[in-house]
């Protein structure tokens, strides 16, 4: 593995490039950073003082001198600013990888003016180059600059490209197209064209009956751009028969146009098909079965200043996602606007590492275009509340009200009633379809605190008491005319509970007891013990 920070300065007598003290009135201090073996060989070459070279042994006086120099250097680095600029970045070892890729990652060096900065940037550049996943090792070395330019150094970035371009992974992820966390297996081909390109084929399975087969390519810096480019072709299948009597199948293309710490811009082009193999769907679902073309831009802004997403004790998080669909001249595409907002705030209480977490999430979806007031919103893009994930960790819009099962909140509609084989009597009740809402709001308050026993504290296991509320409302097809804030507030379902949280990186496992304070007739929730699993 690379050791970019390993260096040993030579004594002034040993290294003619090094400038000592203020002999020239120059406070510049050049040092050489090498590996131990190279250092040892250099010492042997430049050693003017003849000393007995015993095989495998370094004279003690030389060792003491080196140690003294190192201590002096460290002291100087800690107490003084050592001016040093980078003259040039030399790249070695890349036979396939394009120079621009490594140069762009190492571009941070050009702004360095001190030795300390160079060391810090070396660490960062090493990390970024390793993160490209195309190198087996990365080694960054500092060398002295040209003699005519005092106070400069050259940075040598030596990479060892991955011997095997093929690798496989199994892990838990959240991707652009996935609506929930997934477990997936991936096969990757690395750096085929030398642009740091990562080609992968993957299969993913999500908690809510989601199965996805996809293939994609990732360019870390396509033609020098400062952000990566991700293009992904996907085939996705999601089974909602149990909850809403339809299955969704999508195939298409997803392009991540912008991806950074806080911003994500993704374009999706997909062919979506809703089917009902059971032929039990309610009327509202039957109307939505068929094919549609989705061409949408989705922008996400996210900032998370909490100390930990798994157990936030202080800080805040904010996320907003805007999606506009129908970006095509063809009016036959699916057209809607969708907006989600999440806000989380953690307040430390100071006792037993306790904290009060507050959160609110909201979302709205509405069609646009000719006759939008009478059109329904697309069923897969509506908001559904309920499920087995914790609202504390996730910032994906209004999705969860503790205690309610997946898609367990009204509005609902009766399914098709079948006649039994016997005659006029109806067959068993087929139940209802959960239709989701165009407007959704959820809120929660969670008090977490450590257990008194150290065994639990050492493992991060803690307890929590919580309360949550949420509601859904239809707005489309002229339903917005009947909307009133008072009625919406009165339709909030509420639940309370308590439980134990077990953080298993990167997951958050909760063992809770839920109690519903307010629920409606068809809501799927009742007092019970339950497990919540999220990441």
């Amino acid at each position: 593995m690379a050791k970019p920070d390993e260096f040993k300065p030579d004594s002034p007598s040993e290294n003619p490039k090094t400038e000592v003290d203020d002999e020239n009135g120059d406070d510049g201090y050049e040092e050489e950073e090498e590996e131990e073996t190279e250092e040892h060989e250099l010492d042997e070459e430049e050693d003017d003082e003849p000393e007995p070279q015993l095989r495998g042994r370094i004279p003690q006086s030389a060792v003491r001198m080196q140690q003294a120099k190192l201590q002096g250097l460290f002291q100087r680095l800690q107490t003084q600013t050592v001016p040093l600029r980078v003259h040039d970045v030399l790249i070695k070892g890349n036979t396939k990888t394009k120079d621009y890729l490594i140069e762009s990652e190492a571009a941070l060096f050009k702004n360095c003016t001190t030795m300390q900065q160079i060391l810090e940037v070396s660490r960062a550049v090493n990390f970024r180059l390793q993160a490209l996943e195309i190198f087996d090792s990365v080694k960054i070395t500092l060398d002295s600059g040209p003699p005519e330019l005092p106070g400069t150094s050259n940075v040598i970035v030596e990479v060892q490209e991955a011997k095997s371009p093929l690798s496989g992974e199994i892990g838990a992820y959240t991707k652009a197209e996935a609506r929930s966390s997934t477990v997936e297996g991936t096969l990757k081909f690395k750096n085929i064209f030398g642009h740091g390109d990562l080609w992968d084929g993957s299969f993913a399975y999500g908690w809510d009956n989601l199965a996805e087969l996809s293939a994609g390519v990732h360019f870390p810096r396509f033609r020098g751009a400062s952000f990566p480019l991700d293009v992904r072709a996907f085939l996705l299948s999601q089974d909602w028969l149990q909850f809403s009597s339809f299955k969704e199948r999508s195939m298409g293309l997803s392009v991540a146009l912008l991806s950074s710490t806080n911003h994500d811009l993704v374009y999706n082009l997909g062919w979506r098909t809703l089917t009902d193999p059971s032929q039990l769907a309610s009327r509202s679902v039957r109307m939505q079965l068929g094919h549609s073309l989705l061409s949408s831009l989705k922008y996400t802004f996210k900032v998370d200043r909490r100390n930990s997403p798994l157990r936030p004790v202080r800080g805040y998080a904010f996320a907003a996602t805007s999606q506009i669909a129908g970006l095509a001249p063809d009016s036959r595409c699916s057209r809607f606007l969708r907006q989600e907002v999440d806000l989380r705030y953690a307040i430390p209480l100071g006792i037993l590492n306790s904290a009060l977490n507050l959160g609110i999430s909201g979302g709205i979806v509405f069609p646009w275009g000719t006759g939008f007031k009478t059109l329904p919103s697309p069923l897969p893009d509506r908001f559904f509340l309920g499920g087995n994930s914790s609202p504390i960790s996730s910032l994906g819009g209004p999705t969860t009200v503790w205690g309610y099962r997946t898609r367990g909140l009204d509005p609902t509609e009766p399914r098709r009633q079948l006649k039994s084989n016997g005659g006029d009597e109806d067959a068993a009740d087929p139940g209802v379809d959960f239709l989701g809402g165009d407007l959704a709001v959820t809120a929660f308050a969670d008090l977490s605190l450590d257990f008194p026993l150290r065994w639990f504290r050492d493992r991060g296991i803690h307890g929590h008491i919580f309360a949550s509320a949420g509601s859904l409302e239809r707005l489309t097809q002229n339903a917005y005319k009947d909307f009133s804030l008072q009625k919406f507030v009165s339709s909030f379902r509420t639940s309370v509970g308590a439980g134990i949280v077990v953080p298993i990186q990167p997951f958050r496992l909760e063992l809770n007891y839920y109690y519903m304070l307010k629920k409606f007739e068809h809501d799927r929730g009742k007092p019970r013990f339950g497990v919540t699993f999220s990441m």
């Binding site: 032929q279 009327r283 039957r286 509609e413 009633q417 239709l435």
Partner: protein
């Protein structure tokens, strides 16, 4: 949610075209049958699911009669006691045999003509004109393949199948003509057989092109054409009848029926559709060019910055 639809029946069918209330050869007989039953029903259009075998279907409250169950929508409506116009005639052998010929031979011949013969453009207008171009194209190719598989047609036996089809068409239409002369079709007491006949004849005359084989064979039998035209005038000009619904049972009560948007049939203009297709192709091409330009400009500007620093 609106609850004003209690007691209403709805027929969900393909879009109207060629002057027909629904241009699909499977949906039209069902529409005509319900018109014969003289009970008010609403017509809703589904243009998003052309490859569904569930359509047409009749729904009322929580009751639904799908096309792919129990022998079809009409058969299911009879079995479930919703509406039965065939009770007096279903025991007549001639009626039964003619019904079988109509619902199998003639229906298959029309299907063949529509997807594999001269009716290709008609099929695209009826089933795919409301879908985005790419989806419509792929579904059409898939449907043609499925029809070939269904009729077991290959390059080797295509000609032979065509000859067989011709023979079937001629014999079926001739039989229908004979039956009409023998008063098997009852204009005053129509049955599902009348609905099939009228539906198939109207579809053939209106939706299939002039060089269609079936159309040419049908035009040789004027009485069938006149019979169908008369019924067409009746149900197209009468609108929804408010006569007594003695033949039509009310649907089961629909608890909490949701609001139901009526999909109004779109008036398709051929020129507009062509311009949409052109615009779609230009849009995709422009997007690709824009993305490539954007990336190359970014790359060149970053490179220019790096070069400037190197010169320093």
């Amino acid at each position: 949610m609106e609850e004003s639809r209690d007691g209403d029946w709805t027929l969900v069918a393909r879009k109207p075209y060629f002057g027909l209330p629904t241009a699909c050869p499977v949906c039209l007989p069902v529409y005509i049958y319900l018109k014969f039953a003289r009970c008010p029903f609403n017509l809703e259009i589904n243009s998003a699911y052309p490859d569904s075998d569930q359509i047409p279907y009749v729904e009322g409250g929580t009751y639904v009669a799908y096309n792919n169950e129990k022998g079809g929508v009409i058969q299911q409506l009879k079995q479930d006691g919703v509406v039965d116009l065939d009770s007096e005639f279903s025991s007549l052998p001639e009626w039964v045999s003619m019904k079988a010929m109509m619902s199998s031979w003639l229906a298959d011949a029309i299907t063949y003509e529509l997807w594999l013969g001269s009716g290709e453009n008609s099929a695209k207008q009826i089933y795919y004109s409301d879908l985005p171009w790419v989806i419509g194209k792929v579904l059409f190719v898939k449907q043609v393949y499925d029809v070939k598989q269904r009729f077991n047609i290959s390059k080797q036996n295509a000609e032979k199948k065509e000859e067989e089809r011709m023979a079937v068409i001629v014999s079926t239409i001739a039989s229908a003509n004979t039956m009409s002369k023998n008063k098997l079709f009852h204009p005053c007491r129509p049955t599902s057989l009348d609905a099939d006949l009228v539906g198939h004849v109207l579809f053939t005359l209106k939706a299939l092109p002039e060089d269609s084989v079936i159309r040419a064979a049908l035009l040789e039998h004027g009485n069938l054409v006149r019979y169908a035209e008369r019924h067409k005038n009746d149900f197209l000009t009468s609108g929804q009848s408010s006569a007594s619904a003695s033949n039509f049972q009310p649907p089961p009560s629909a608890a909490q029926a949701s609001s139901k948007p009526k999909r109004k049939p779109k008036r398709e203009k051929t020129e507009e559709e062509k311009s949409f297709q052109r615009k779609a192709k230009y849009f995709i091409g422009a997007q690709l060019v824009a993305v490539l330009l954007f990336l190359s400009l970014l790359g060149s500007s970053s490179k220019a910055d790096l070069d400037e620093d190197d010169e320093d």
